[in-house]
Amino acid sequence: MFSFGDIMSEAFVLILNWDRNLSEIVGLSLYVTLSAVLLSCLIGLPLGAMVGAFRFPGRGVMTVILNALMGLPPVVVGLFVYLMLSASGPFGPLQLLYTPAAMIIAQTILVTPIVAALTKQVVEDLHGEYAEQFASMGLRPQERIAALLWDARYSLMTVALAGFGRAVAEVGAVLIVGGNINHVTRVMTTTIALETSKGNLELALALGVVLLVLAVLVNAVVMALRASAVRAAYA
């Protein structure tokens, strides 16, 4: 049977013998996931802040919807994006199916609700403290949003990391819209699924260890950036 010692040593060998194939797969994973997180933040941060800071009709409904969408099943998102991008679908002429762009779109749909819903919570709490001050300064709505997002930036880094975690670990959606094409749309998670289906379980798990190391590195970099930014701000 399998021993975890073997799996760890296989992972170690994979990392030691780091080849072009692995760089390609790891690079594409990072490219797709980070692009999706960036797009999700561009949409989700202002959206979440607006829902968090302002009172408007339908706000409760919007909150419930955003929270519920955090649980979107990746396979369903994958199917939806496939139907949109298929040659027979409305966006077929763009020819985005089976490209990294399709994977970025699918992951953006998955991650945006997470960023928006968590941002809403962070901003809502902060707005409670700032509301009177904002009113006395006579700030316009967009200035309030900007101020709230800026002051909450350290908490929002964690929000972005939550989105990153969801995207980098996801396989159902990218498998359908990317097609797991070698050298084109093959990422860490789809490679793990492929190796599992070939019965190469040790290799699959070893790749999983590499993915985990990657996630730890990204988190460490963000935390280091945050720490140095905090030091600079309060020095």
């Binding site: 949409i43 027979s88 490209t99």
Partner: protein, 275 residues
Amino acid sequence: MLRRHLFSLAAGAALALGLSGAAQAQDQFIVVQSTTSTQNSGLFDHILPIFQDKTGIEVRVVAVGTGQAIKNAENGDGDVLFVHAKAAEEKFVAEGHGLQRSDVMYNDFILVGPPNDPAGIAGTTDIVAALTKIAETGATFASRGDDSGTHKAELKLWKEAGIDAAAASGDWYRETGSGMGATLNTGTAMGAYVLTDRATWISFGNKGDYQIAVEGDDRLFNQYGIILVNPEKHENVKAEAGQAFIDWVLSAEGQQAIADYKIDGQQLFFPNANG
């Protein structure tokens, strides 16, 4: 102002995505909708570089079950269909989704089972009799259950045996609803018999103590076919490059490349384009 800002950001992002898609479309490549057996066995890794060196055409393979591959090709999401379910392929052509269908190669299905052989069928060659025994003894059988080529072949065999296996679904008949490799992983773990194509089995890395129980029946023949997706139905189909790939696969050189592919000295696919 904020809203305008957001809009321009979104438009910029959409443009960037669109551009990256368009840039990729300029390269010479085709998409082949194919099956997990051809991909997982490593056949494509062996023959595609030869074709690309010769023609400069990159072949991108989407490997899914035959049922899904046909559906994707019907939607126009691919230039060439390369699968193994002759009846479904002929229907695909008859309905106008594809042009002419050609035989490419064959291998065979085998029934693999646990060493204790609960149905007592190891070493036999009559697949229908073996399936009947499995049903009679209630030995566990793991089915793909995913409308793939292998699944269609399996259903045909149950029909020949006159057994309604689906009625026992959840009991001794387990439908995994997943690919060949995943079904082998599940089946070997639960001590079930599994019908698999020989290529996937030879290249499968998690066999455990499993052995081939039944092989050599004519009814276990597994034919692969290739079809160009109809460019009149889907104008995005790259008919010229797709046809070039089909012509090469059917040519003496392509057929030889298929025959040359071996794992541990065993040939996985047998070309038969002209027979």
